[in-house]
């Protein structure tokens, strides 16, 4: 399922269309008829497990890989057979892509040097880009003298220096530690909004994708399962795969009738894509499950995991369902394994699939 985007270019970016892209490696089908449209100036994140084809899609868009069939359209131009060095795209790789023999400034100016920009102009542009990523004072250093996070900032500045029509980010944060990852993630989004370049961001980290993207596309087995704004994707997953991949889920027996599901004794609305009637399995998010201590409760606590501001409580119902509840840690204080608890679920819509 894809969302169509208008085929127009604006001052702040160009439209990108990947049409029916297929890529096979021998018997392996890395991409299986992928359709993806990105609006001008939009940041789309491709999310999925390893081997789902997200990096292949990005590399085909960059021209670093060739599609077995299908089309790549950028700003209305067919780039399918255009070589990578003529595509005018900026790319940030996972790591280690800075040229070690060049200073930070020379790295950033590299693309401009190839375009025969004058020395003074490319120096000025390089410094401007380094200021943008907060590394203006490191212009004369070498890559080996920078931290991993700083190197990725320089790589971002280098990609943006050539004013690319499309910015491609290939898991740029995966080699960084957690704190730097969050900082740089937010910075990438700030800069992308500032320069307005159409951006494709590939990641396997759902939190990263949900945090930075205008829309998130979830890929599975070479196809796009669903593409939607982060909130929609989270709250209304179109398929069980999306529901399971984006966020944690409890699978609970449910009965559907008249657009409503009965789950753990509560009536909740069902979302599009659910079965229309009969017995099935509801995908219930941990934050929709509440537990409260009660000597006469119908479930017992199996374990409590403290995660700082939140805690995850695993319970077992008398009916045999294993559930996970996610609640503010203040509400989980005092809960211990073997405690009796009452379990309830919130009235948020759920996806119910055939059991």
């Amino acid at each position: 399922m894809t969302t169509a985007a208008p085929d127009t270019s604006t001052e702040r970016g160009v439209a990108v269309h990947l049409q029916d892209l297929t890529r096979t490696y021998g018997a392996t089908r890395a991409l299986d008829g992928l359709d993806l449209s990105i609006e001008p100036g939009e940041l789309v994140a491709l999310l999925g497990p390893s081997g789902c084809g997200k990096t292949t899609a990005l590399r085909i868009l960059a021209g670093l890989d060739v599609a077995t069939s299908g089309q790549v359209l950028v700003g209305g131009r067919d780039l399918t057979r255009v070589p990578a060095n003529k595509r005018d795209m900026g790319m940030v790789f996972q790591a280690y892509s800075l040229f070690p023999h060049l200073t930070v400034a020379d790295n950033v100016a590299f693309g401009l040097r190839l375009r025969r920009t004058s020395t003074s102009a490319r120096r000025a542009r390089a410094l401007e880009m380094l200021e943008l990523v907060g590394l203006g004072q490191h212009a004369s250093r070498y890559a080996a003298e920078l931290s991993g996070g700083q190197q990725q900032r320089v790589a971002l500045a280098r990609a943006l220096a050539i004013e690319p029509s499309v910015l491609l980010l290939d898991e740029p944060l995966s080699a960084l530690d957690a704190k730097v990852r969050v900082q740089l993630r937010d910075e990438i989004r700030r800069i992308q909004l500032e320069v307005g370049t159409t951006t494709l961001f590939v990641t396997h980290d759902q939190e990263e994708a949900l945090a930075v993207a205008d829309r998130v596309g979830v890929m599975n087995a070479g196809r796009l399962e669903q593409i939607a704004p982060p909130v929609d994707l989270y709250e209304r997953p179109a398929t069980p795969f999306v529901a399971e991949f984006v966020g944690l889920h409890n699978k609970v027996a449910a009965t559907v009738s008249g657009g409503t599901a009965t789950v753990l004794g509560a009536s909740v609305p069902v979302i599009d894509g659910s079965i229309t009637s009969g017995a099935g399995v509801a995908m219930v998010r941990p934050e929709s499950v509440s537990v409260s201590a009660s000597p006469t409760g119908t479930a017992s606590v199996v374990s409590v995991g403290f995660l700082g501001p939140i805690s995850r409580v695993h319970v077992q119902t008398e009916a045999g369902d294993a559930l996970m509840a996610q609640l503010p840690s203040a509400l989980a204080v005092g809960l211990a394994p073997q405690d009796r608890v009452d379990v309830s679920i919130a009235g948020t819509p759920v996806l119910v699939v055939a059991g």
């Binding site: 960059a62 060095n85 790319m91 790789f93 892509s97 040229f99």
Partner: protein
């Protein structure tokens, strides 16, 4: 008492890694430091054991200078030819892929040929390109070409050809790791930024490989400059290169009593190699900031 034992044990434990170096340091002392000191000291001694500069002055004679020049020509030309052809072959090997048969076979053969010198190598060339060599005879009978050419094989030109036989595979062995170190991301980043294949090589690959290439060429230079056995077998008349002149000084009956000149010539070779090593150190200093 027990604390004394404990601190003694700690000291022993701290010294243990250094103790492991003792055999190595002994080896270096006996086979590098002592001979070098002997060479330096004896270079300034006359036949009577007295201090003299005659041996050093003799290094300025026309014969010694010509021989040194030949040695430098031989080492320099085979380092450049071996470096260029070896680098090209290494690139072909690396391009074929990390698990290719070409790579496995070439590296295995290079490992053997890089060490194939001395009598067997000289004999192989004499048997092939000598006056009655297999190839010489074959080309003489058809198409009637004489590659014997007055015995060039047994002079400086011949040494250049024969030395390349082990210089090229040595270059392959030392240069393949440098080519393997070129990351795919660098090429893809360059291409993504607009570089053609030529521009990638010019602006990225060649500058990155230059320190390793020059380092390898200097290694080849030192390797050829100090080589002796192949030349000793191949050249029976005259002393076209310094190692052969040292042999003459030490063993010739004509030059009897000039053994100490041999030590002075050895000192000259040490100086040349020291100059080469200094050049290499300067090169490394220039690139040390980014080669971490």
């Amino acid at each position: 008492m027990s604390s004394t034992h404990a601190s003694g044990g700690r000291r022993l434990a701290a010294a243990a890694p250094a103790l492991g170096l003792v055999p190595f340091l002994l080896f270096i002392g006996i086979f590098l430091v002592v001979p070098t000191v002997t060479v330096v000291a004896t270079s300034f001694q006359g036949a009577d054991g007295g201090l003299t500069l005659d041996n050093i002055r003799a290094l300025g004679s026309e014969a010694a200078l010509t021989t040194l020049w030949h040695s430098i020509i031989l080492a320099g030309s085979t380092a450049i030819i071996g470096g260029a052809l070896g680098a090209l072959l290494a690139w072909l090997v690396v391009s074929a892929g990390p698990t290719s048969r070409l790579r496995r076979v070439t590296l295995a053969v290079s490992g053997v040929l890089a060490q194939f010198g001395g009598v067997p190598l000289a004999f192989a060339f004499i048997a092939t390109l000598g006056f009655s060599g297999v190839l010489t005879e074959a080309l003489r009978s058809w198409p009637g070409v004489d590659i014997w050419g007055g015995g060039w094989l047994f002079g400086l030109k011949g040494l250049i050809v024969v030395y390349c036989y082990f210089q090229i595979p040595l270059m392959v062995l030392v240069f393949v790791p440098a080519l393997d170190g070129l990351r795919v991301q660098w090429r893809e980043a360059a291409v993504n930024l607009g570089a053609s294949r030529w521009q990638y090589w010019r602006h990225v690959a060649v500058p990155l490989l230059t320190p390793a290439f020059l380092g390898s060429v200097l290694l080849l230079f030192a390797n050829a400059f100090a080589a002796y056995a192949t030349a000793a077998v191949l050249v029976s008349q005259g002393n076209p290169i310094t190692p052969l002149l040292i042999r003459s000084a030490l063993t010739s009956e004509v030059l009897l009593g000039q053994a100490n000149l041999g030590f002075a010539l050895a000192l000259e070779m040490i100086v040349v190699v020291a100059v080469v090593m200094t050049l290499y150190a300067l090169l490394l200093r220039r690139t040390s900031r980014w080669m971490r």
